[in-house]
Each structure stands twice: as C-alpha cells, then as structure tokens.
C-alpha cells in the first residue's frame, strides 16, 4: 500500500464545560487527604482533559453514528470470564471513516460474532492526533474560585436512595465546575492512499464527531448531569507537506468560527 502525507489540518479550539465535568483518574487509589473519585490532574495539580479520553469518546460515538456497531464489525477489546465485555469497531475496509480517522491495531483480533480478523494489511498511520486539553485558568472567575471546595474543582455529592427503606447512600466525586474552559488541539493527517487523496473527507468526519460529542457527554456520571461540553472559538489551519520544507511563516487559519453552529468548511 502506498501512503503519502499530503498535509495536516490543525484544529484549535476551546472546550467549554457547560455542566460539571468529571474525568476520573482511572485508578481507585485514594491518596491520603484526597477525595473519592478524583479527577485526573497534570503535574502541576491542575485538571485537564486527556487526549485519550476525548478520542475514545468520539470514536465510540462515531461507531454508532456510522452504523458500525454490529456483531460482525466489532472486535473484542476486553474479555471477562471468557466472554466479551468491551468491544470496539475495527475493520479492514480502507474507506471506513471510523478506522480511517481513529486508527486500527495491528494483528489478529477476535470478532464478537466469532472467528478472527487480521488487520495487519489494513493498518496505515492514524490520521487523528488528539492532544491533552489544558485548563484555561482565567475561565475560573474569582467569584467561582471563592466558592470552590478545592483549588480548581468542587466536590459533588450524589445520593443513591434505597427504594424500600428510602435510606440514602451518599457518594462524593470531584468535578470541574460548569463554565470552565480548556484549550484543545487536534491534528488530522491528510493522506494519499493508493493514489486516492483524502481531501477534506476526514476533516468533515471529525467535525461530525465534535457535533456528536456536544449532543452527548464527556467523562463520568454523564447520564446524571455531568459532562455536557461545547466547542468554542474554533480555528482550523492547514499545513501542506511542502510547508514543512520552507522557513517558518505565520500560518493563517482557513476557517474560524465561534461555535460548531457557525462552522462552514465551504
């Protein structure tokens, strides 16, 4: 297979938490003096959105939206007691928007419907790169800050109520309050595969994934209030592969938009 890099689309934007946002640490270790269900933080102790969380969520939303959630199109990613527990879509169709944008893993995989699929020949470099989204400190106003339980975050209590006794079982979790913004960056590689140029195909698919995420949620406790996000102050740049040979020059965005609603690729 011939793969040529034609250029890169770079999408810079802010991710605004419209409701509280909880992206967990992933491990349940409880640091001393820490709280249950902490949010993931960077080396400076500030909350951030890991690129892997964004990418994983967008991928799973796209799998549904592109009609790829069918047993013969799903591979088993995690097994429990010999049964498939977590499945993701992966296939060898070179035109698949999900695998094309989010990537495939090498080697042989178990299909959910039984049997195996080997993707080695279909693997090309992943088009989408998602960077960690860093906290924009100024998005937390002084007034908000005065009312936070922790330096950048708050503690939310949730009660599970027993349907027979009405006794509450409170659980706490840390979250970033609504209104906070993060600066995000996505890169989409534009390839020419076997003489076929991607053009803007994957950029358009990526924007679809952004829209799907706005209508869903990011992170934990999303079905119970958390994790509504919006993409704002969007700028899209294009760097042709020939630009990398030139002396650096100021790159101008090809598209800007206040929000996804205003975004037109033309």
């Amino acid at each position: 297979m011939d793969v040529i890099l034609k250029g890169k689309y770079i999408i810079k934007c802010k991710i605004k938490a419209v409701t509280g946002l909880h992206i967990g640490e992933g491990n349940n270790s409880l640091e001393i003096g820490g709280i249950d269900n902490a949010v993931v933080k960077d080396a400076e102790g500030k909350p951030y959105i890991p690129g892997s969380s964004l990418k994983g969520k967008m991928r799973s939303l796209m799998e549904f939206a592109e009609g790829k959630v069918r047993d013969n199109l799903l591979v088993v990613s995690v097994k429990r007691e010999g049964k498939p527990e977590i499945c993701i879509h992966m296939c060898d169709d070179l035109n698949c928007p999900v695998c094309g944008l989010f990537g495939r893993n090498h080697g042989s995989h178990d299909l959910k419907s039984g049997g195996k699929i080997d993707l080695t020949d279909a693997v090309i470099p992943t088009r989408l790169i998602v960077r960690d989204a860093k906290l924009i400190e100024s998005s937390i106003t002084d007034e908000m800050k005065e009312n936070l339980d922790l330096e950048w975050t708050e503690v939310k209590f949730e009660n599970n109520i027993d349907r027979i006794t009405s006794k509450a079982n409170p659980r706490q979790s840390e979250r970033v309050p609504a209104g906070v913004q993060f600066s995000a960056e996505f890169v989409i590689n534009r390839f020419e595969v076997n003489s076929k140029d991607d053009q803007k195909y994957y950029l358009e698919k990526f924007i679809k994934a952004m829209k799907l995420l706005e209508d869903d949620y990011l992170g934990g406790q999303g079905s119970r209030g958390n994790g509504k996000v919006r993409f704002v102050d969007i700028e899209i740049f294009y760097k042709d592969s020939s630009d990398y040979e030139k002396d650096s020059s100021e790159l101008q965005p090809i598209v800007t938009a206040k929000s996804l609603d205003d975004l037109k690729l033309s």
Partner: protein, 390 residues
C-alpha cells in the same frame, strides 16, 4: 438508525411549589445575618481580607464558634466592632414568609456558588417514578427483597438499610452496565440567579391517634405556630431552569422490564417517542400519588393542602404530551422516593425490623409529612415541578 436518536432535547423545569435540593451542608447560625426581609450569607475570607476589625473581634468570633454557637449572635459582634457586614456578603436571599427563628439553614446544592438542579436529582426522581409503574410481578421482587431482609434481621444477621432494594433493582433492571437507565441522559440545569431563590420554612405534620398534630421538641402539639421549624434555601414557584435530556430507544426497548411498561401503557398501539412515553408514565404515576395524598390530607382535615394538591391535579390534567409533573428534592418524604406506596401493614411490620433507626408504625406509615409554611400558616407541599421537553 434514525439520525434524530443522536440528538438531545431541551428540558424546561418550571417550579410549581418551593423546591429544595439539599446539598450536603447545613449553614450554621454564625454564617448568616438576618436583617429586614433578608438573610445575608457572609464571606469570611472577605471579612478577614478587608481587615476591618481588631484582634479582639477574631477572639470573640472564635470563642463564639467553639462554644457550640448556642447563644452566639454574629450580628451583635459585627455591630459591636461596627463592621459593615454588607461589604462582605456572598449572597442574600429573601425570607419567604419565614416567621420562625433561623438557627441553621439547609443549604441548596450549588456549583461554584451557583444554584442549579443536578441532572442526578431529576433523573433519580424520574427513575423512582418509572419503577412505581412496573408490573405487579416485578414489584413483587421488592416485596421479596423486603422479606429476605426481614428474615436476615430475625436471624440476627446484619442488614444494611441502605442496600435492601439492591437485589430487586438488579433483578429488574440488570447491573448498572446493562440498565435501560443508561439510555436516559439528563444534564444539570442552567444556573438560577439569587432572585429565583429564597428562604422557606417547613414544619412536620404528625398523625397521632388519628389527629393531625405538629412536631415540636417538646412533643407533638396542636398549635402549628409553636411547632419546630426547618429553614431551607429553595427555588421559588414560577422559576424556570433549562438543561438537555436524551432518551434513547433502548430506554423503552432495551430491557424486558421496561418493555413491559410499554405494553401496559400504550394501549392505543400508537407509536410514541421515548420522550412522550416517559412523560406518559410519569404523569400517570404522579396522578395516582396525588390522589392518594388528597385522600390522606382530607382524612386529617388539611383543607389548604388538599386545595394545593387539587391545583396540581388540574395542572396535571391539562398537560401536553411532552410534559409531566414530578416531585423532587428535600422533604418530599418516604412515599415519593420508594415503592412503599404499594406496601401495607404487613410490609411495614417487616420494614420496622429491617430499619430500626426510623420510627415505623405499621398501622400508619409514613405518619408524618413535611409541609411549607408562609407567614405562620400552612401553605403547600415541597418539590413539585413541571417538566417540558422540546
């Protein structure tokens, strides 16, 4: 798959009766000042920052705080040191006909200081109502879970009253990973401004030997004006808040329990969206509940509350297909939160063994109700909201 199944819709909450979503905290008497028609909530950081006072003020303050705040009055101390507390106020709320002394205030849940309704509260109340609409043989599983817990208690095994229904919940809806409620996504609401919130007074009606009495620390009494009051931050009637909601097809088709609901309710056979379906369930459950409460309050001659519930009933009867009524939050009582509305004396006898911390009188349970008061008079029931999905 239809494209619109990815789209979320907007919900509008209209507060019908004062609604209190309790946070984890109570605001202590030294944290606010009552003046005129308002409670002013102090910002201690600002008080200290402004450095408006002498060391002796801090000493007096900390003495007051450590003494358990019994006869401690922050207003007197602020006055003594001529500190203008209004320069160090976080927010102020109007007293909505509160006549009792405000010893402590039940705090409304807030995000970075802003009032809102958590998606979890709205969803939790919806789930609780949907559970009440289940078929008899599924509700039987709750009775079985209660019987099992009762047997355990008789055998002197430890029963955790927080997890009595868990077994039945899982049998009906599956594990959280399989639950149809995964497909109901309710965001937190928008924020309410200070004018939308107020301070409300609640008193506890208790049925004692077939008569309505009022709870006070000195026992149950006839005169409600002498009864003990709970004071709480709440949202005022008429206030509207917004958020997003997504009800996917699998909410009503993903699990046999909820599928059964559909067969039970959609008699006309008309195809209904998950939103309309949910609204239909919630309205029918609310209607049943309101009618039961009307007969309860009629029996004990509580005319004001009966007329409040009749008003709710007439709102309920004029709802559109995309609307429903729900009771949420603090002080809404045992029946609102549980499947206990289907229990009888036998069940409550078992419950009294399972939950030994609560006072459970099998002949009449629950025998108390928390009601809102205004200007010293019985006013209404807390927590009723109207939800519209667009």
């Amino acid at each position: 798959m239809a494209a619109d199944s990815f789209e979320s819709k907007t919900y509008e909450i209209e507060i019908l009766t004062p609604t209190i979503i309790g946070g984890q905290d109570k605001i202590q008497s030294f944290e606010f000042v009552r003046e005129g028609e308002y409670l002013y909530f102090l910002n201690f950081d600002k008080l200290f920052e402004k450095n408006l006072f002498k060391d002796s003020f801090i000493e007096e303050l900390s003495r007051g705080l450590s003494s358990g705040a019994r006869d401690f009055n922050i207003k007197d101390i602020l006055k003594k040191y001529s500190i203008d507390f209004k320069k160090a106020v976080k927010y102020r709320l109007r007293l909505e006909g509160v006549t009792s002394h405000c010893k402590e205030v039940v705090a409304f849940v807030k995000s970075a200081g802003r009032f809102y309704i958590p998606g979890s509260s709205l969803k939790g109340a919806m789930r609780s109502s949907i559970t009440k609409a289940l078929s008899k043989n599924l509700l039987q599983l709750y009775e079985n879970a209660l019987s099992n817990a009762y047997q355990k208690a008789l055998n002197k095994s430890r029963v955790d009253s927080k997890f009595v229904s868990r077994d039945a919940d899982e049998k009906i809806f599956g594990t959280p990973y399989e639950s149809p409620f995964k497909y109901l996504k309710v965001s937190d609401s928008s924020f309410a401004d200070q004018e939308s919130a107020g301070i409300f007074e609640i008193k506890v009606l208790n049925i004692c030997s077939n008569h309505a009495k009022w709870f006070s620390r000195n026992g149950n009494i006839d005169d409600p004006s002498q009864a003990t009051a709970i004071v709480a931050e709440g949202l005022k009637p008429g206030v509207k808040l917004y958020g997003t909601i997504k009800a996917e097809k699998d909410l009503i088709e993903g699990n046999s329990a909820v599928k059964g609901l559909k067969e039970k309710l959609l008699t006309s056979g008309a195809s209904s969206s998950p939103y309309e379906f949910v609204a239909q369930i919630l309205s029918s459950v609310a209607k049943d509940y309101i009618q039961k409460e009307i007969s309860f309050y009629s029996k004990y001659n509580q005319k004001q509350i009966v007329s409040e519930y009749q008003k709710l009933l007439s709102i309920l009867n004029s709802l559109d297909k995309n609307q429903f009524l729900l009771q949420i939050g603090f002080s809404t009582g045992y029946l609102s939160k549980t499947v206990g509305i289907f229990f009888n004396k036998n069940h409550f006898e078992k419950l009294s063994r399972v939950d030994t911390q609560s006072k459970i009188y099998p002949d009449i349970f629950p025998k108390s109700r928390r009601l809102l008061f205004k200007d010293g008079n019985i006013w209404t029931v807390p927590g009723w909201i109207k939800v519209t999905i667009r």
